[in-house]
């Protein structure tokens, strides 16, 4: 009996408490920099596409919403011919970002992607590719390692040893 009156009174006092609501379009909630929102494809410091079309992101995606097709340019550098993310299925888990070996695919703090037409949520490569490097600066996969695609000579990568002459490799 007393506890009923007490809870009535406590509830009543809540009228004078501060409201927890954030009135969204006027007031925005602060998003942390590692917020997992809209997905972008970034470029390396030389302004080339980072993505090497390895399909790891598509394989990692739990809802299978990434679709891409890899191809090569005249130097043998791999890049995606098309790269499509269906954001009406994406659950923003960030697995694709974890899987990517080249920091190409990144999730950024932006969630305002509302559309009236569902088809507009399917983003093509032109919509995804941005001009900058995203969250990870200064990384260029082809300068670190890998084959010669016109970026560096064989064995001249930053963390790479000179190639070994197999004929001199005697025990």
């Amino acid at each position: 009996m007393f506890s009923i009156l007490r809870s009535l009174w406590i509830t009543f006092l809540h009228m004078f408490h501060k409201r927890v609501t954030i009135e969204y379009p006027e007031e925005k909630a602060p998003l942390p920099p590692r917020w997992r929102g809209r997905i972008v494809l970034t470029r390396d410091p030389d302004d080339m596409e980072r993505c090497v079309g390895c399909y790891l992101c598509a394989a990692a995606c739990p809802v299978d919403c990434i679709s891409l097709q890899a191809t090569e340019d005249e130097n043998g550098r791999r890049y995606p011919e098309f790269f499509r993310i269906n954001f009406s299925r994406c659950i923003f888990c960030g697995y694709c970002e974890d899987a990517c070996p080249t920091y190409a695919i990144q999730l950024i703090p932006d969630f305002e992607m509302g559309e009236y037409n569902r088809q507009n949520l399917v983003y093509e490569k032109e919509d995804l590719l941005i001009a900058g490097q995203g969250k990870y600066h200064g990384y260029n996969y082809y300068r670190e390692a890998g084959v010669d695609v016109g970026v560096k000579g064989k064995g001249e990568g930053i963390n790479e040893d000179k190639p070994v002459d197999v004929r001199k490799l005697m025990p």
């Binding site: 009923i4 501060k18 409201r19 609501t21 009135e23």
Partner: protein, 318 residues
């Protein structure tokens, strides 16, 4: 002729004001619930969100008005009409101010009891006609709750009737000139209030609808404006119980001068409506058997006691 015209105008005005109040209460309730839960509630449509009601109305009118193929069609349509009709009819006996009332019945209070008993039919028929097990469970609970609470709802008011010496609500208000009845009849007031909550099946006694157990109870299958009627009916019920408490225990339109009587009436009525909302914001729902045993084992004997003591005292001082 002129007199008839005036009376019909008053009746129509009361009807319109009541329906508007009941619709506006949806907004009031949402705002107040939000205030008591540290939120804002609907505040976008119009000033302070007051046009939310209009938006909701437009929406509910355009909803598909679906009658399930397995339902008992005529009864299904009849049920929501009953709740509106009986509650609106009950309002006809309430004196909002001297001269502003529909029917000055000499058995006004009995008329209210008759109408609220009929109101139980809307729950029973709605649940039965839906042909759905959740609806049926809700209807069974609803009818049991309403019938058992009706009994001491009546008994709790007999103290007021004894003190005023009349069933006529205008006489009851006038008998409170010196002291409002909630002081001598405090027990009766508390019992009537609890019974009133159960009668309108509002939280914490919303056991017939209990969303967490029965989806929406007896109106699970209802949609569109038929659901709207149940909804408005619930708010009309709150308004009715608040108006009755004001009339019977808090001196009706009697105030302290400086404001017209009808304003006093509305102020008191809204205070009780807000209390209904506060109850909803703070109390959990009891179990069904707890509700029944509270009714039969505690409140019924208490209201008998109240009746006996009041009767004895009135006889003694006569």
């Amino acid at each position: 002729m002129n007199e008839t015209l005036k009376l019909s105008l008053i009746a129509i005005a009361i009807l319109l004001v009541l329906v508007t109040i009941a619709a506006g209460l949806i907004w009031v309730e949402r705002r107040m619930l939000a205030a008591w839960q540290d939120r804002y509630g609907p505040n976008r449509v119009g000033t302070f969100g007051i046009l939310q009601v209009a938006a909701d109305m437009i929406k509910i009118f355009f909803k598909e008005d679906w009658i399930p193929p397995f339902a008992d069609k005529s009864v299904f349509i009849l049920a929501p009409a009953i709740v509106m009709t009986t509650i609106l009819l009950s309002f006809s006996i309430i004196p909002f101010a001297p001269g502003i009332l529909v029917a000055d019945l000499n058995i006004g209070l009995l008329f209210f009891f008759a109408m609220s008993s009929l109101g139980a039919y809307s729950v029973v028929l709605g649940g039965w006609a839906s042909n759905n097990k959740y609806s049926l469970l809700g209807a069974v609970r609803g009818s049991a709750q309403m019938i058992s609470y009706e009994i001491f709802m009546g008994l709790s008011l007999m103290g007021v009737v004894i003190m005023a010496g009349s069933f006529n609500l205008t006489d009851i208000v006038l008998a409170q000139k010196n002291v409002w009845f909630f002081i001598p009849q405090f027990l009766g007031f508390v019992i009537f209030f609890i019974a009133g909550i159960a009668e309108t099946h509002r939280l914490p006694f919303d056991i017939p609808e209990a969303e967490s157990e029965l989806i929406a109870g007896y109106h699970t299958e209802y949609s569109g404006m038929k659901f709207g009627m149940f909804f408005i009916g619930e708010y009309l019920g709150i308004t009715l119980i608040s108006a009755l408490i004001t009339t019977l225990f808090f001196g009706g339109w009697l105030g302290f001068g400086f404001l017209p009587p009808v304003v006093w009436f509305l102020i008191k009525m809204f205070a009780f409506i807000l209390f209904f909302v506060l109850l909803r914001a703070s109390l959990p729902r009891p179990r069904y058997d707890q509700l029944m045993s509270l009714g039969w084992k505690i409140l019924l004997p208490l209201s008998f006691l109240n009746l006996l003591v009041t009767g004895a005292l009135v006889l003694y001082f006569q």
